[in-house]
Symmetry: C2
Subunit: 184 residues, 2 copies
DNA sequence: GCTGCAAAAGCAAATGCTTTGCGTTAGCAT
DNA sequence: ATGCTAACGCAAAGCATTTGCTTTTGCAGC
């Protein structure tokens, strides 16, 4: 039986906080014993709950990617999408953002969850637009045109990402309107 | 002074071979001492030359990504691009391909080199087409429309990638023709 | 509330990976 | 041939990781 409350929750929060604190201090290569000491637990606790360092980092990174608020409703799909993309690019452009995406991409499980997160957000924008009677591209088209290029730059290049890059992506995503659909 | 020939080269080949052999045998989590033993060198040699396991795996992965031949010339940019994309998707779709991309994405240096590799290939297709007098999209547009979506699926989803996916990407990349340029 | 069960944490020993200092080998230049 | 030194081997030291066992503590049933 799983046991979500009380001490377990306290330990989880403590460990997550420790990771974030150490990352914030710019600790280059953090280790499990280091995190454990900071969190006031023994290393074996971390190994047993998370498996290894990569899994733990992915877990923390995934939590950071969780949007703290709904995407803004700016009146039309184009401006909604632009606002969302700008925020996404902005979050990922910082060294911390790069680190987060890198951390989450390494293990198998969490990476899928990360992709799902973006899908949920974009689908919300789509549904909102469909509610207004707008024509919008399919979800997968948006993933290909917006999310994938950003992730690719972060992981495979040293390029600077800025608001102009975001603007170009959105423009391009809406340009063709080759593939527009009406629902899921 | 660097020293590329003789024993160094022999060691490098031996270690690379050992990694590939162990990966081919389906060894789940390979370790440096394991690789060293297989290659007939001491672990410290590997640590000094490659730094750590991730860097070594990235190095081997990068070598695998090296195209063994020029992309086929099929007569037109559209068919060239389709052939290239199909081959790219095919290589990456296998479990080994996924592993390779994952390995290469982790450290900073090699990831850029990997991106450069794709750029070189696609730029070759572009120049060939320009030589024929064709109109072709900008390189960065191709990266966004073809390479990024494939990499994204590999790293962030468990989706099956197939020839149809490749076809859709190419179709989409050439559909708008919004951004066509004439050279670098 | 109290009690019993078992999940999760602590502790410490054992294992195994990584680092490092130093002696040796062997490319490469003269 | 000889000298120089990058790169390797070896072995010891330093840590990270695993594991068996004990203790704590959340939760369910009285």
């Amino acid at each position: 039986m799983t046991r979500p409350g009380g001490r377990s929750a306290r330990v989880q929060r403590g460990v997550h906080d420790a990771v974030r604190a150490l990352q914030a201090e710019g600790t280059a290569a953090l280790t499990v014993p280091q995190i454990a000491a900071r969190a006031g637990v023994t290393p074996s606790t971390i190994y047993r709950r998370w498996g290894d360092l990569a899994d733990l980092l992915a877990d923390v990174a995934l939590e950071r990617l969780q949007p703290e608020s709904e995407p803004a409703d700016t009146g039309s799909f184009g401006t909604d999408l632009l606002a969302w993309t700008e925020q996404y690019v902005d979050e990922m452009a910082s060294p911390q953002g790069r680190g987060v995406l890198r951390d989450v991409a390494v293990p198998q499980g969490p990476a899928c969850a990360c992709g799902q997160l973006n899908r949920t957000q974009l689908e919300l924008l789509r549904q909102r637009a469909l509610g207004r009677g707008e024509q919008v591209p399919e979800l997968e088209h948006l993933i290909n045109a917006i999310v994938a290029p950003v992730a690719y730059r972060i992981l495979f290049t040293a390029d600077e990402l800025d608001a102009e890059f975001a603007r170009d992506l959105v423009e391009n995503a809406l340009a063709g309107q080759a593939r527009t659909g009406s629902s899921t």
